[in-house]
Symmetry: C2
Subunit: 492 residues, 2 copies
């Protein structure tokens, strides 16, 4: 322990030592119960007499700062029961500091819960990703030009990547030039940039119910009035949306039309056209979040909203973060007219633009043939896992449990009997090392409590098999218990 002693000070050495310890104890640097250095050691260390140290310790003990016991030494005094009130935590004022994070659930749900069998994040098992190839690209890029690490890139993104993204989109019917694209750190940042640019306190935002937790957090943090529209087998219920819009005109409609997260449902072409029609009549924006459309198991899904958008209503978010490299986090936003320059200004304000190296490293994988070959393999792997899980559920889950049958994507949506609260299953599963996402996290408004989201692509097949079997046992146990006991009611 370093104590600054001034030998010429007006305060005696004893006093200086006492003050040092008082400061450390008051500030919490020394915590109750912590042992002080022995008299012998401290005097040797500070090069002063043992008597001076002893006197200082006695004074500290008298004043109640420390407690000394013969043979054991001196310890910072543990304050008596009422002490916390008497000596308040100096940081308590922070509790009265308002913030603008009314929700922020994603963080809790993805951070909480350690477990071997992780069904909670819609990520792909690292072994299936082209990390080796991207790694080689990075090594090559660095060897060619290490100064790449020493420069900022353009706010909008690396020119080469923007052109590759434009080609990728053109192949999918989206006519957006490189100047209409913005590179973002995953779709999460794309949603965030669109929201911070166009959504403010009281603005009406429509979302599907259920929807992606991270998007709810974003719009909630902007102070938006969030209205929710249920999803059925054809996607967002545009009939209900139309009626709601009469009384609450939208500023933004957020949708995941293809292999919807969390339900796996794909929006029909008819609904897609209706949605665009609504955007036209209300002159509002659609944020089309599309991380999964390349991950179809059978037929390719219907074309994107953006590809049918003639008047610039759609901000299209395409992420390659999940399917190529969560460690490079390359995604883009496509928007026409004056929207993209506003989003670029927001990107500059948020983080001065994305780093260059990951952008350049991912670019070669977007070349048509390379991408198609890779995706075709990935699709097969994802489809196999989906079949594996649904097969096991069919054979072993309780008969009262049902699940979606997605044609692509990474998620299954489990529905329990209406009287079962999925948070019970969540907690029970956690005890057996299974991490799930409780469906309630996916609702911006009043949640349905009897759902669970299962992301089936993070584990290898062996873990997935074992995890699903364990989950089936948990479901049987929970359902049996819930049935036996009194119906659980919320406590007010």
């Amino acid at each position: 322990m370093h104590i600054e002693l001034t030998r010429k000070s007006a305060v005696a050495l004893t006093g200086q030592i006492v003050q040092s310890f008082r400061d450390r104890i008051d500030s919490g640097l020394l915590r109750p119960g912590e042992k002080l250095p022995s008299v012998r050691n401290l005097s040797a260390f500070l090069k002063i007499s043992q008597v001076t140290v002893s006197k200082a310790y006695s004074e500290l003990e008298e004043k109640g700062y420390i407690a000394c016991t013969q043979g054991r030494g001196c310890f910072v005094a543990v304050p008596p029961e009422e002490a916390p009130a008497a000596r308040p935590n100096p940081e308590d004022w922070q509790l009265a500091l308002p913030d603008y994070l009314p929700r922020a659930q994603l963080w809790r749900h993805y951070n909480e819960g350690e477990g071997m069998y992780r069904f909670n994040t819609a990520a792909i098992q690292p072994a299936l990703l082209p990390s080796a190839e991207i790694g080689r690209n990075i090594q090559r890029l660095i060897a060619e030009d290490p100064a790449l690490l020493g420069t900022y890139g353009p706010f909008q993104g690396d020119g080469g990547l923007l052109r590759a993204l434009a080609r990728y989109l053109a192949e999918r019917g989206i006519a957006a030039g490189p100047e209409e694209l913005l590179v973002t750190s995953g779709s999460q940042q794309g949603i965030d940039l669109a929201a911070r640019t166009f959504v403010g306190p009281g603005d009406t935002v429509y979302m599907e119910a259920p929807t992606y937790t991270g998007a709810i957090d974003v719009f909630a943090s902007r102070g938006a009035k969030i209205l929710t529209v249920p999803v059925d087998a054809e996607g967002m219920r545009t009939d209900l949306l139309t009626r709601l819009c009469d009384t609450h005109p939208p500023k933004v409609i957020y949708t995941i039309p293809t292999f919807h997260n969390p339900t796996g449902v794909t929006m029909s072409m008819r609904r897609r056209q209706e949605l665009l029609e609504i955007a036209r009549s209300y002159r509002c924006l659609i944020i089309e979040d599309d991380p999964f459309s390349d991950l179809y198991y059978g037929e390719a899904p219907p074309r994107s909203l953006k590809s049918m958008d003639r008047e610039g209503h759609v901000i299209y978010l395409k992420s390659f973060s999940k399917v190529l490299s969560p460690g490079c986090r390359v995604a883009c936003a496509a928007a026409s007219g004056g929207l993209i320059s506003r989003l670029t200004a927001a990107k500059a304000t948020a983080d001065l633009g994305s780093p260059l190296l990951p952008q350049k490293a991912v670019e070669p994988l977007l070349a048509r043939r390379r991408y198609d070959t890779y995706m075709s393999g990935l699709r097969d792997a994802m489809a196999a896992r989906c079949r594996l899980v649904t097969g096991l559920l069919k054979a072993h889950a309780p008969s009262s449990v049902s699940w979606s049958d997605p044609a692509g994507g990474l998620n299954l949506w489990l529905t329990l009997p209406a009287w079962v609260d999925s948070s019970t299953v969540y907690r029970e599963a956690l005890k057996r090392s299974i991490v799930l996402l409780p469906g309630a996290a996916c609702y911006a408004a009043e949640p349905q409590r009897n759902h669970l989201r299962l992301s089936f692509t993070q584990m290898d097949e062996e873990e997935l098999r074992e995890g699903t079997m364990r989950l089936c046992r948990v479901l049987h146990d929970c359902l049996a218990r819930e049935k036996a006991g009194p119906p659980s009611k919320p406590v007010f």
Copy 2:
């Protein structure tokens, strides 16, 4: 050109072809002046008679959609002068779409202006940065574990980096454990996360005048009430701040106390203590932005506000982005008590956490000896450039121009005579391939218009010498012209 023809339709084939072209022309898919396929080709392609195509083309020409010339073919009609009004741009509705970017100046100032002599960004010449070493770290990390690219990291940051940052801070008197730190994408994101967490519409934020443009953009985008406090040779005028706080209690005080951007001034210890005192009495936050404190030219600067903060008022932002690697963009926020978990929730909402690879690659450079050796070299280089520029200015700039004499950092603050608008100098300089930052960009409220910020560390010494000499000539010319002509007045 693919046209969908329905032979059983009630509409004749001619009508269907006409409609197809009209749709394409109306939607802008076919643009004015674009050539249509020849009658022969289209009829062969659609497997219909040439007569049908001819009839369709005639009808389109009659209706003014296309213009045909014997021998040259048919072209989409170029609308006459008044046409743009008659056929409005389908994206015009976007102009009436409100956004929440009231300012966003940084983006404009850093994107605008191509020029060889770049004084506009406070970045360090890439050749001086340890990119080769970081590059080798990256190559090693990838070789050891390519799966690093395939996984998301913890929202708060990589554990190893957090511990290295905690050690770095402890060596500078800041007692923050790894759990009190958050990795951010540069300080820019740190400012942004702090603002989105704690600043909302109408909240009072104090900033220095002048200050960092990117920070103004952030607080303005949150709808904050921004009050500004002038800076003198001792830093922020705490006497004026105290008086303002009486009537406008602060929620946040944003400051760059050490080698202030743009003026280069360092806040005195007395003012630092006063600032903390103000934070205590008003129970508000201080955002201490500290990118430059290791870049001192002579004496080390006074200790940070954070190191003297006992009650958790200070959110301390430390960036290594500028001094180690703009391409890795590693920075951190240090905050105690419950603040850091709120900031981490904001980080998750913004981008799901920073990528792992750059964090791990930068970590070894933070080791005490390695960092000290490197910084000592960088300090010498920066000091030499500062001397070079100020020496040239002294010898060649007009006598009515003055500048700050910074003891560290990357910026000089030029003051022109009060009657000169620095935007004139900015434009004149641009013509001679010199890019400057007009001082007005650094004011959140009413700007002083006679300043320029010179960042002198982005070019090599040769360019810097030539750029400064050119700048001196521009200054002479502008001052001579302004003196000669009538005083320039704002036009209302």
